[in-house]
Amino acid sequence: MHSEQPNYTQVFLTFARNSLIRDMTFRWDFIIQAVSSLCWMLMNLGFYLLIFQYTKEISGWSKYQFFLFMATTMIINSLVQTFFMPNAAEFSELIRTGGLDFALLKPIDTQFLISFRRVEWASMSNFVFGLGLLSFSLWQLEVMPTWWQVLLFPVFVFCGVLIFYSLMITLAATSIWLGRNQSLYNFWFYITNFSRYPLEIYRGPYGSWLQWFFTFLIPVLVVVNVPARLLAQEMDRQKWGLTAFAVFAAVMSLLASRWIFQSALGSYRSASS
């Protein structure tokens, strides 16, 4: 009678709905969260406005090209923060307290369940802000995106989100082995920090080593660079090459993180009652 699989989309929508109901219950918390992260975005923007008083470009990225890059960073980060950050943070806690038991009982994919349980709607304010900054930069650059740009940009934003998600779930999964992993946020910040700058700045013996490492081993450099370049720069063969690589990197990251997550689950030992 109950042989069918659960409807994953419907379950996700209910998660999103329940999260929204909860957020609305504590509306001031919601508003403060949205406002404070917006302030952080504005301060960031102000910082780069300062820098561009001293220079015309940063390794080939003009002011508004760079702002377009920043807008892409905001869009991708806000999506990760909205959908995955609260879940990854809670996962570590679920392991320490043994709450993961309940997730393991449910007739639904465990990784899906713990990845999507909560949605932090307040972070969507950054998404809207990012979209605004993106349109403003395009307008300043006097660029009218072509249809293929409009089509491909979201696709590669999605690839970027997948890579970040994979990294995050891998970090979270390690807390099964470590018992407790509070350095999760820090690690996340250290690594993703590299993704916030254009690929071109990683030059020289140290820089090119970093570029290689963060493109091929932990592919965080392609996350923002690929979609941002699509909109902001002239594409050439080499750039298309990296774009194709981004798809490959997204798929590989996802597979690798899935494998790590599954084997970590095998070592789960629960907490005493």
Binding site: H2, P6, T25, D101, L104, K106, L113, R269, S272
Partner: protein
């Protein structure tokens, strides 16, 4: 047909042995000593479909670990188990749709939302047919008398009300096997009684196979015909509740009421004198000696009333736990650390 079959099931944890003091903690960073804790130590058990079985045992006896193994939350170190024909730790969805686990010390409902929102989520995760879901929900709510509480945020409910909601959440998909880990812990007498009544009625109606662990003997006495006593990871008794008394209680209590304040002074020659409240007295006597003692007392004294009773079940079981834990050293897992 057997619903649960367990054969030589073993779960061993490796636990970090922490020594006292700061220096030892620092040393522990580099060199750790471990010891093995045998939480479940080769258990054999068969439970038939529709049975209501109680798991008794002191803290750390392995009751919860056994339930977690049968729920597939943990993978055993060795041994076999099948529930409804499935190996639990393979975590097949077909299996997970057919059982439920309720833990009295943990909750799975969304804390800030009304329980009905969590229920709706269960409906979707378990893919329960909407009309059937509505019907089950109504039935459960009226059996537990919580219709009015469904729309109230869980954090505003009392402990007892919350437990009822947890039970509902676990039963919405009409599981064939139900694992209950101390469902009445911390509840007041009324709430305990409500939950006992509910479980009894529900089990009779649905013929669910239920494994219950509890510290409250009243739960067990009210609900279960069969009792399995675990201690130190082993099964030390499997049978009826009264059987425990027959097997483990070597004494009975004789209560006497003497006529006209004639309380004989030398009662201690019959057995341990528990209590003297003239004209009444209670003596604890070895079981084999009961007929002999009664005979003599009745012959020698004028007695108005007499009764022979078993020792209270709690006492017998406490004694039994004390005996068994002496054999196997205490096995308790480390508790959650208190943080400041």
């Amino acid at each position: 047909m057997a619903a649960i079959e367990i054969e030589n099931l073993t779960k061993t944890y490796r636990v970090y042995r922490k020594r006292e003091g700061l220096w030892e903690s620092v040393r522990g960073l580099l060199h750790r000593e471990y010891r093995d804790v045998h939480a479940v130590n080769g258990i054999d058990l068969t439970v038939e479909k529709g049975e209501f079985v109680a798991f008794l045992g002191p803290n750390g006896a392995g009751k919860t670990t056994t339930l977690k193994l049968l729920s597939g939350v943990l993978t055993p170190t060795s041994g076999k188990a099948e529930v409804l024909g499935f190996v639990p730790w393979q975590r097949k969805n077909e299996y997970r749709r057919r059982f439920a686990l309720v833990m009295g010390q943990k909750n799975q409902l969304w804390w800030d939302l009304p329980a009905q929102e969590s229920f709706r989520l269960h409906q979707q995760i378990y893919h329960i047919d909407p009309t059937e879901y509505e019907k089950t929900l109504k039935e459960l709510a009226s059996l537990l008398k919580v219709q009015k509480l469904l729309g109230q945020p869980v954090r505003e409910l009392s402990l007892g009300e919350r437990m009822k909601m947890e039970l509902m959440a676990a039963l919405l998909h009409s599981p064939e096997v139900l694992f209950l880990d101390e469902p009445t812990i911390g509840l007041d007498v009324v709430a305990q009684h409500d939950i006992q009544n509910f479980l009894r009625e529900y089990q009779e109606r649905q013929e669910t196979t239920i494994l219950l662990t509890s510290h409250y003997m009243k739960d067990v006495a009210a609900l279960c015909k069969r009792v399995v006593v675990v201690s130190g990871g082993n099964i030390v008794y499997d049978g009826s509740l009264n059987g425990i008394i027959d097997r483990f209680s070597l004494h009975k209590v004789i209560s006497l009421q003497f006529a006209e304040d004639q309380l004989p002074g030398d009662l201690s020659r019959f057995g341990d004198v528990l209590e003297i409240q003239p004209p009444k007295a209670k003596i604890c006597v070895e079981r084999a000696q009961v007929p002999y003692v009664l005979n003599r007392v009745l012959a020698e004294q004028s007695v108005e009333d007499v009764s022979v009773e078993d020792r209270p079940l709690e006492e017998v079981i406490a004694q039994m736990f004390a005996d068994t834990t002496e054999e196997h050293r205490p096995n308790q897992l480390t508790e959650e650390p208190t943080e400041f």
